[in-house]
């Protein structure tokens, strides 16, 4: 393509470039400048010297991170939450979607859907506030119920052993209903003739679900699994932060909150940026790696 043609195209589209400008400015300032700012992970950042003037220190902050006693703790906490997510939260919307799909009464189905989608739209602050009310020591309704049932005195909010179950319960409550949408959409596309054929072959309902329904949503499940793997270390800052207190910190601290406490509250900008960069790079490797595996063995990937 010649230079002249490019120039005429540029002239022809000049108003489109004008429209582009504000958006481009946004991406440059708030998305790409912070990416350049990641270089402070290799510097000792000093505010008055800025991103470009601070002295370079190489891998010092990463070495500090990997030799710090915090690292195994934060990594373990993050990975345990990720594992619990994969085991308890990931399959839940699939199960609920399959159950909803078996529901014949469409009025009831829609009513249930309307109810279980609601929490998705609420903030983590509201979820945390509800948690603090329902699980409050001695006074919370759930605490009283459990105290009565087990004749004990539960301290859900401060006891480190209860931190992870609470996080998973919150996530389930907030996200399971909404998570069904994508599976229900895939289920709606199943050809009814397949069920007819399976029935003629003598398949009962369980076998129809196993041999007809599940295979049709398999690729959706794979895509969601890739996304889950890519976000493995994203434990949700707001949720964890709001549930963290001085008593459960030992199990609550994950990468996101660790970066916040060190960077924002203690001002260790370079070190916390290094922690964030480590997490982001692991995330990229995970998403591309799982995607590669999915394409290799399943012939469906995200990209």
């Amino acid at each position: 393509m010649g230079k002249v043609r490019l120039r005429t195209r540029l002239v022809r589209y000049r108003w489109l470039f004008v429209l582009l400008l504000p958006g481009l400015a946004y991406f440059a300032i708030f998305r790409y400048a912070p990416m350049y700012g990641v270089t402070i992970a290799f510097q000792d950042y000093l505010p008055f010297l800025g991103f470009s003037g601070s002295p370079w220190v190489g891998w010092k902050h990463f070495e500090n991170l990997f030799s710090s006693p915090d690292f195994p703790r934060v990594l373990t906490n993050t990975l345990i939450l990720a594992l619990l997510n994969a085991v308890f939260v990931f399959p839940a919307p699939i199960v609920v979607a399959l159950l909803l799909n078996e529901l014949r009464l469409s009025v009831l189905k829609r009513a249930i859907q309307s109810a279980i989608y609601i929490p998705h739209f609420l903030s983590w602050t509201i979820v945390a506030a509800l948690t603090y009310l329902l699980f409050a020591l001695d006074t919370g309704p759930i605490t009283q119920l459990m105290n009565g049932l087990f004749n004990a005195r539960f301290d859900f909010l401060a006891d480190p052993d209860w931190f992870r179950p609470l996080v998973i319960a919150q996530t389930l409550w907030k996200s399971v209903g909404w998570g069904t949408i994508i599976y229900l959409a895939a289920l709606a596309g199943v050809d009814p003739n397949l069920y007819e054929a399976a029935r003629i072959d003598g398949a009962n309902r369980w076998r129809q679900m196993w041999h007809v329904t599940l295979p049709t949503i398999r690729s959706t499940i794979v895509v969601m699994a890739i996304l889950l793997a890519g976000n493995l270390l994203d434990t949700g800052f707001e949720q964890i932060y709001l549930l963290t207190n001085s008593l459960n910190r030992s199990v609550a601290e994950v990468f996101d909150t660790y970066v916040y406490f060190l960077g924002i509250t203690q001002g260790a900008y370079s070190y916390s940026t290094a922690v964030g960069l480590f997490k982001a790079v692991v995330g990229i490797i995970l998403i591309y790696g799982v995607n590669w595996l999915a394409r290799r063995f399943h012939h469906t990937g995200l990209f």
């Binding site: 991406f27 009310l133 069920y195 970066v259 995330g283």
Partner: protein, 292 residues
């Protein structure tokens, strides 16, 4: 799918299924009813009964109290204003950027699209973004709650895909009639996009209303707090006296009840929008997932 319903096992399954799903719906809804009931109850009833879905006596003490305090009213007004202004800015930026990116012959289009998509998998992270916001002098200003999140790349791609599906002929015809590109955008494309503008407006408004991280990061001054910060301070930190400010030293505020009513006030706007949200978001999530 009409499956062999006549078998006894099938009927048992159907019954169990209904029970399980209804239970799930009830568990989801119950906290809202509990909080709403609690917010209209007397402080003494809250101390006495741990769980109820209807107060013995309906009173509005807690609401009258929170709406009489400056701090709460201010945070409510601030949140409404930031949400409204922020939504307008976000919608404007998203739509003006999506339109050129939808033009297949735009020079540099692929590069720009790839740059946008890259921000979905990698970001500079919390600290560098915070330092940029600080360098720009936006700390403790409401702009910090709006500008850093002004364009959501996922929504941008959804709008771009929407524009791509508009009939080209319509836009070409308008250009032949002497309309400039800007004119086509303003007079032809935007009026055709009203439903998706409404959808995106809702997406963005809910995100700003619910945002807790931005005010936590960027707003130090407690007189500039948004509603979410306020809710957190009252319910999670239980720092009632400092947060609300004691107006009358002889008056003891209904401490426990306040937690309930503050949650209700922060939730009601979302619940009012919920019928629209449910319809539009469900569509949006599917558009986004079909073509990322």
């Amino acid at each position: 799918m009409a499956v062999n319903r006549s078998t006894p096992a099938g009927r048992v399954f159907d019954a169990v299924n209904v029970v399980v799903l209804v239970a799930l719906a009830v568990v989801t809804i119950l906290p809202f009813i509990y909080v709403t009931a609690g917010s209209f109850a007397k402080e003494s009833e809250l101390a006495e009964r741990s769980f109820f879905l209807w107060p013995r006596e309906v009173v509005t003490d807690t609401y009258r109290y929170i709406f009489s305090t400056d701090t709460f009213l201010r945070s409510l007004i601030v949140t409404i204003a930031v949400t409204a202004v922020g939504m307008i800015i976000q919608v404007l930026l998203t739509f003006t950027m999506a339109y050129p990116l939808a033009k297949r012959h735009l020079p540099g289009r692929n590069l720009l699209l790839n740059l946008v998509i890259f921000t979905m998998v990698f970001s500079g992270g919390l600290i560098p973004t915070y330092l940029i916001v600080r360098e720009l002098g936006l700390l403790d200003t409401y702009w910090a709650l709006i500008l850093p999140l002004a364009i959501n790349p996922f929504y941008l791609i959804i709008v771009k895909n929407f524009f791509q599906e508009l009939p080209e002929e319509l836009q070409e015809a308008a250009q032949i009639d002497g309309c400039t590109e800007l004119g086509v955008f303003w007079r032809i494309v935007l009026p055709l996009s009203k439903p998706i503008i409404a959808t995106m407006g809702l997406f963005y408004a809910v995100a700003i209303w619910n945002d807790f991280m931005s005010p936590l990061l960027y707003i130090d001054d407690s007189t500039k707090w948004t509603l979410q910060m306020f809710v957190r301070q009252v319910t999670v930190s239980s720092d009632m006296a400092n947060t609300l400010g004691q107006i009358d030293p002889n008056y003891i505020p209904p401490e426990q009840g306040l937690k309930f009513s503050v949650i209700v006030v922060a939730t009601v706007p979302i619940l009012l929008l919920y019928p629209f949200l449910q319809r539009h978001f469900a569509k949006g999530i599917l558009i986004g997932s079909v073509k990322g």
